[in-house]
């Protein structure tokens, strides 16, 4: 009896081990695994299906969903890539990963005809986000940028600057709240870098290797953040607010302003039609009067893993997935902004996004987050040092911030 059981256990163990080793990647029609954030509308799934069909049995794209949270997506991907996992073929990459993935040798550079396809008609800012050291590393797929959303029934004209907005919100009393993102995560870094860029500063110098953080714009940025967080216009849960908490709070009607991405527009139509009727939009507020604001660009680029057994097919498939018709589909179904400039002029898109012109002008001034392989550490340094925003002391935190970023640049990212 015992012997039979032992044999059984042994068999199962051996077969599991053998199955694990057999590297199951030799199919009749090659399957390309596309690791990308889960997309609830199904636009990615449809794009994968169509590209597979159009390939004429050359390949089949299988979508492997990653978590919604960007940090967790990265955690899963880098762990696999650092171990040389050959099950990943196409990677849905956040724009901030390009330098890191390229430097580590985890993705392949785009060249020749597929590179031309990936660049064709793209807006400049999204295209720049896929370039590292003058080399294209991914195909720009979707983009993203924040706007200012406000209640037209409470405010006549959108405030042009943060100072103006805070004063206006304070004068409105309890309903004046400004919704923003203050949790300790990438969103806080994006907020800081955008304010800094609007003030004419930057985190790193042009080489991307050394710290910049000029004193005057940085101090100005830090005092704006502190002023906002300590004002009665800030939400009491600012320190834990992400994009979605801000959206939900705004949809409850107790706020008059919100800085957020365009996904709030279809959401408001669905969840709070009364509020959607009075939902106005404008460019993200500036920090200096008369100087247009600059917000950091977001979005998704498609890269090809360096460990894929089918690099040529993967390039081809990624180019297909990011083609104009699939960007249109992602825009209309999933509310994801296209990276192809011409799409912003199409009537259907302009119905989906009545604010297409503001988007385009915002995108044309958009700024990149520091393009360095150490971006993740730098971002952590920023969000850790500046959280919670209400406790920022500009003079003191300017020095702490510089020190934290210098450590991060030194690969001492423990901070």
């Amino acid at each position: 009896m015992i012997r039979i059981r032992l044999t059984l256990v042994l068999w199962i163990t051996v077969s599991i081990i053998l199955y694990g080793c057999s590297s199951h990647r030799k199919e009749a029609i090659p399957t390309l695994n596309w690791y990308v954030a889960g997309e609830p509308s199904g636009a990615f799934f449809m794009a994968a299906k169509r590209c597979s069909e159009d390939s004429g049995q050359a390949y089949k794209i299988e979508q492997v969903p990653l978590p919604a949270d960007t940090d967790q997506q990265r955690e899963q991907l880098v762990r696999r890539l650092a171990a040389g996992d050959n099950a990943i073929d196409i990677i849905g990459m956040d724009v901030i990963w390009t330098a890191e993935f390229a430097q580590a040798g985890w993705i392949l550079p785009w060249t020749g005809k597929t590179a031309e396809q990936a660049k064709a008609g793209r807006l400049d800012a999204p295209l720049q986000s896929a370039i590292y050291q003058n080399q294209l590393w991914a195909a720009p797929f979707t983009t993203n940028i924040q706007l200012l959303w406000y209640r037209t029934d409470r405010v006549n004209t959108a405030p042009a600057t943060w100072d103006e907005m805070i004063l206006l919100a304070e004068s409105l009393g309890e309903i004046g709240t400004i919704q923003a993102q203050g949790e300790r995560y990438e969103g806080l870094t994006a907020f800081f870098v955008s304010l800094l860029a609007s003030n004419g500063g930057s985190v790193l110098d042009v080489s991307g290797k050394h710290i910049s953080l000029a004193q005057q714009p940085t101090l100005q940025t830090l005092s704006t953040m502190a002023r906002f967080a300590n004002s009665s216009a800030a939400d009491w849960a600012l320190a834990t607010a992400r994009e979605d908490q801000a959206r939900l709070a705004f949809e409850s009607g107790h706020s008059s302003f919100m800085v957020n991405y365009p996904f709030v527009w279809p959401s408001a139509q669905r969840n709070a039609p009364e509020i959607a009727k009075h939902l106005g939009w404008a460019r993200w507020p500036a920090t200096i009067e008369g100087k247009p604001s600059r917000f950091v660009i977001g979005g998704l680029n498609l890269g090809v893993s360096a460990y894929t057994p089918y690099p040529q097919l993967a390039f081809h498939a990624a180019a297909c997935l990011t083609a104009a018709k699939h960007q249109r589909m992602a825009a209309e179904l999933g509310g994801l902004l296209p990276t192809i400039a011409a799409l912003y002029d199409e009537p259907e898109i302009r119905v989906t996004y009545p604010f297409a012109d503001v988007l385009r002008s915002s995108l044309s001034d958009a700024v990149q987050r520091p393009q360095t392989p150490l971006y993740n550490d730098i971002s952590l340094a920023i969000s850790r040092t500046l959280h919670p925003m209400r406790d920022i002391e500009p003079q003191k935190d300017f020095i702490r911030l510089r020190r934290a970023i210098e450590r991060a640049l030194n690969s001492e990212g423990l901070l």
């Binding site: 940090d71 762990r79 320190a239 392989p373 690969s411 001492e412 990212g413 423990l414 901070l415």
Partner: protein, 292 residues
């Protein structure tokens, strides 16, 4: 006689050998490898830049404000939660030990929190304290975003820990209670000792080894706390612990050298705690034994 003794000794070692080998393979090797890695600059994102840098990683960590904050947080969590668990664990152990009815049912129900996976427990408590969907605010009539401030986030984490692991403490203490001979208690009662005197003068001294084991186990566990903090705050609001720091360095930053150094430092922390406990309590332990 001598021959027999040495033969027995050899047999003993032979019988232990498989277990010792297994332990060496699964613990000594990783520990030594971590020690070795901690002496390198080794970041998986820059595999070409691997270089031997001696103790630089340790210097970098020990001069970083983040490490000392995390260590402070970990010690706060450990000291508060373990002492409260000991205080609550004793009555619980006494109840489990003395209950006359449904002894099994009482013991089983007490152990339920300990049987729940930590991640699940942490999520349950997180939801309970959530300002919009949780019941705690409604119960207390407060409007508090519990996990947005340092003190209240600590409170939620410590409560979760206490709820989760007090049963474990109680279980170990109950094992100690069974060591107390019934006759001794009866004799003390005849001599006129009241309940409190019996507890302090007889039960506690006899149980000392069990208490030491219980507190030591829990302290070591609490010092390495990870799941609860990871789920509830991810280290925000100044609640980062040393294990979370190790995770961030290893898994998020892929910095094997620095991460190994953090692990080694945590290991040293664990060693220090063990030595302190065994040296500190060990002395009074043997003294208590002699008095008896």
């Amino acid at each position: 006689m001598n021959q027999k003794q040495s033969n027995e000794r050899r047999l003993g070692w032979l019988l232990c050998a498989p277990a010792v080998t297994a332990l060496l393979v699964v613990t000594a090797y990783p520990i030594l490898y971590a020690l070795w890695l901690s002496l390198f600059r080794y970041d998986l994102r820059f595999p070409d830049q691997r270089a031997f840098i001696g103790l630089d990683n340790y210097v970098s960590i020990l001069t970083s404000e983040v490490w000392w904050h995390a260590l402070g947080n970990t010690l706060i969590l450990t000291i508060i939660s373990v002492s409260l668990e000991l205080l609550l664990g004793f009555p619980l152990a006494l109840i489990m030990h003395h209950t006359l009815f449904w002894r099994r049912a009482v013991r089983a129900t007490t152990l339920i929190p300990y049987a729940i996976i930590t991640v699940v427990a942490a999520l349950a408590w997180k939801f309970a304290f959530d300002p919009t969907i949780g019941f705690v605010n409604a119960l207390l009539g407060t409007e508090q975003a519990w996990l947005t401030q340092r003190w209240s986030a600590f409170l939620v984490i410590i409560l979760t820990e206490i709820w989760k692991t007090t049963p474990f403490m109680a279980l170990l203490l109950m094992a100690g209670l069974t060591l107390v001979p019934h006759d001794l208690i009866q004799a003390a009662r005849v001599d006129g000792a009241n309940a409190w005197q019996r507890f302090i003068k007889i039960i506690v001294p006899i149980m000392k080894p069990a208490i030491l084991v219980a507190v030591l186990f829990r302290t070591l566990d609490a010092f390495r706390i990870f799941d609860t903090v990871f789920i509830q705050t991810r280290g925000a609001q100044g609640t980062e612990t040393v294990s979370l720091l190790g995770y961030n360095t290893f898994i998020v930053s892929l910095n094997l050298g620095l991460g190994s150094a953090v692990s080694v430092l945590i290991f040293i922390g664990v060693l220090i705690i063990s030595v302190l406990f065994i040296k500190g309590f060990g002395a009074s332990l043997t003294k208590g034994g002699n008095a008896e």
